[in-house]
Amino acid sequence: MYLNHVRIEDTFAEAFPMCAARLVVTADCEEWAIIAARAAAGLAHSIVGCNCEADLAGSIAPAQTPDGRPGVAVLLLTTSKEAMQQELLKRIGQGVLPTPTSACYNGLDFTETIAVGGKIRYFGDGYQSSKFLDGRRFWRIPVADGEFVVEESFGVTQGVGGGNLLIQAASQSIALEAAQAAVAAIRNTPNAIAPFPGGVCRSPSKIGSRYKTVIASTNHPFCPTLRAQAESQLEPAVQAVYEIVINGLSESAVRQAMKAAMIAACLPGVIAITAGNYGGKLGPYHLHLHQILTE
């Protein structure tokens, strides 16, 4: 299949269920809300080394946030509910709490919840207090610019991780331009994120390595400079490949984001778009590129 003269490989991305949470981070102005949200989503690119994949998931207008201030959504995915609790405690406690004027709320309405503010409150050393309104408890933790407010419980749900695209182009600059266009399209899609730095990954990985202690290593068939030394999956004209990893709150959110990303990435100079999978043995979600484009 060709889209705007770009070959779309007849293959699929293999995705798998993950535990997902959504934060609403607010502050007195959008600038500080973004800073706090970025702190919460920091170093959360790959589950392999970070235990968490996260990214900002869009701005929220003051009318839509609990405290009427500018807000930013953060989507996080981990392997389990327990891991999510650890990540939220760390990321809200060390990322959002210290950021001036910030507050942090649950952004998911699900029955399954984990205690977050209910544990972070102990930072208040006995001076914390809470407010309970309309079924939601908010903890007030005294800090040096006033109070940090955090919701007691955060909802978790089953999300989908591992959606991906590999954009192959005739030069590094074209590949990066296409990847950035793809990420911009993903960021306009609700409930989906691209967790790598800037949404783009230059180091797609394969499972395992020739070294026993390394669980993931460079995906050498996609490295253009290894063509003379190892088997390659790249045609001769391809000089650079960027991977876009896409996670979301649901399979449909990931599919929608992949479609938007593929359409946006088909720029002149892009040769092919493919996806990574493990032969269908790893994840239950097989996201076929051709099928997604016809949806």
Binding site: P66, R69, K131, R140, E147, V149
Partner: protein, 273 residues
């Protein structure tokens, strides 16, 4: 389709309306309903002698509407767990006392002890409320323990006395001793607080535009913008409450107390500067 009870008695004897709850009445047929026994003064009479019954097509199916001479109806919605009661007029004392769910709307003035001992649900008074709104009932150690009491007018003395949880919003002035002996919870007053607010307070928040006099047992604790208050103000505004526009992004003077108790309560006073 709900039911409408039009009370036609001009007799000033108090009527105990506590048996007239949606959870008890709405599944009854009209004949059984008119036979429900109600105390009037020291007599017990069938409901049919006090009011005229009609269907109310515009109302919700779980709604009871009281109209006519409702001023002598006491204990309306007392112990209510679900459904909705609308009073088209004033109510007597103890409206919504001990209610734990549902909704009670009073389109007039409420007597004393409105929402006293309330544990859940929503009580709205579209007029002034008497003394001891949301306070504890005689013999009980705790006042309001949950739910929301919205008073779109002034409240008398001792509003929120010994309250433990929940929210009271007074769009007007509060009389003396508001929040006295408060255990926790939130009492918002768009106007001023009368004498001795929060006296004996342990935890909780009293918020107002002005103080008539410095509160006893409270010490100044800074000026700040309180995010939890913004959450409450937004929530109230979304439910049609006349939250002062100037409060939304304002700073408040915090007074911590009561020093006669465990000193974990607060009075927040709007800072116009």
């Amino acid at each position: 389709m709900g039911l409408k009870l039009h009370f036609h008695l001009s007799d000033p004897l108090p009527i105990d309306a506590s048996p007239l709850l949606p959870q008890h009445l709405l599944h009854l047929g009209s004949e059984s309903l008119l036979e429900v026994r109600v105390s009037v003064g020291n007599q017990v009479v069938p409901l049919g002698e006090l009011c005229r019954l009609s269907q109310s097509p515009e109302s919700q199916p779980d709604e009871l509407c009281f109209s006519g001479n409702t001023r002598h109806l006491h204990r309306v919605g007392m112990g209510m767990q679900s459904g909705r009661i609308v009073i088209e007029g004033d109510s007597g004392s103890l409206a919504g006392a001990n209610m734990s769910g549902g909704e009670l709307l009073i389109h007039g003035q409420a007597g004393d002890l409105a929402g006293a001992g309330m544990k859940g649900g929503l009580l709205q008074v579209f007029g002034h409320a008497g003394d001891e709104a949301g306070a504890n009932l005689v013999g009980n150690s705790l006042g309001m323990q949950g739910g929301v009491l919205l008073i779109h007018g002034d409240a008398g003395r001792e509003a929120g006395r010994r309250m433990r949880r929940g929210l009271i919003f007074i769009d007007g002035q509060a009389g003396p001793l508001a929040g006295a002996d408060m255990r926790a919870g939130t009492l918002l007053v768009t106007g001023s607080l009368g004498q001795h607010p929060g006296i004996g307070m342990r935890r909780g928040s009293l918020v107002a535009s002005r103080l008539l006099e410095p509160p006893l047992g409270f010490l100044p604790a800074g000026v700040a913008s309180f995010i939890w208050l913004r959450i409450y103000l937004k929530w109230l505004a979304e439910r049609g409450c006349a939250v002062p526009e100037t409060w939304r992004e304002a700073n408040f003077h915090r007074l911590a107390g009561s020093t006669a108790e465990i000193n974990k309560g607060e009075i927040l006073i709007y800072d116009p500067n």
